[in-house]
């Protein structure tokens, strides 16, 4: 039914890659919260990735796996400042989505603004429902 499902957790994704240095970093990797919305023409992924811009975001497509990866810069408070409230953790982002076969892989587009990623994945032409006209015989 759906073209996309999210499967891997960040840990799995981490062990799946051979980039050991990325996994051994002290900074943790988090799964960005995402909405997936489907229309007749396309599938949209909207992901929250605060701290990420177009330069620090990587989107890779390998076979049917679409991976979004964001690198967040460390924040350094002014000198002599100490943390008095720690409510949210800061880390990098990584999430892998599995695409169905019926998407146009060349047509995938991503826009990132205000730490929010908007991905558009167009469906392949043949899967877009077509109206079949029936003529009376």
């Amino acid at each position: 039914m759906s073209n996309i499902e999210s499967t891997k957790t960040s840990e799995e994704a981490c062990s799946a890659t051979q980039d050991q240095y990325k996994c051994s970093e002290t900074k943790k990797t988090y799964i960005p919260k995402s909405d997936i919305y489907e229309t007749d023409e396309a599938v949209y992924i909207w992901a929250d990735m605060p701290g990420v811009d177009e330069k620090s975001l990587d989107i890779t497509l390998e076979k049917n796996s679409l991976t979004i990866e964001g690198h967040v810069e460390d924040y350094f408070p002014p000198e002599d400042y100490f943390q008095v409230m720690d409510e949210y953790p800061v880390g990098n982002y990584k999430r892998t989505f599995t695409l169905g076969v019926n998407v146009q892989k060349d047509g995938i587009q991503g826009v990132v603004k205000n730490g929010f990623l908007n991905l558009t994945i167009p469906k392949a032409k043949e899967t877009v429902a077509r109206k079949i006209s029936i003529s009376a015989g």
Partner: protein, 146 residues
Amino acid sequence: MLDQMTYWETWDPFHEIRQLQEEMNQTYYDQPKETQKNSPLFNVWSGQDGLVVRSELPGVSPDNINITVEGQDLTIKGSLKPHETKDRERFIRRERKHGDFSRKVKLPYRVDPEQTEAQFRNGVLTVTLKRPQEDKPRKIIIKSEY
């Protein structure tokens, strides 16, 4: 940890319970989130001359963020409009929050509203608050006994 939190006088023991409840609702009922009031989370640093408050507000336009400072209170309010979608049924996954958000915290000391600066970059808000000059801790020189 707890000491630091209680020091802020705003530590709400029910916050975590509410958060858990919200997560449960989200998981099991997938309720529309428009009606739920969100409160953004803060990371705060303190120093001799002031404070730095940071909060993640991904997808929010800077025009939709309202910051007010009054005495010891810092209030951050705003809203995140959901994407215009014709049909709610066509959501395959819905994890992001949207709608109105607001948070008020009591700062450990008075800050000067005139000197407050805010920066919004890549969905992260950074508010820099300065302590008024007259309130800054002063070193007291002890006069020597004769």
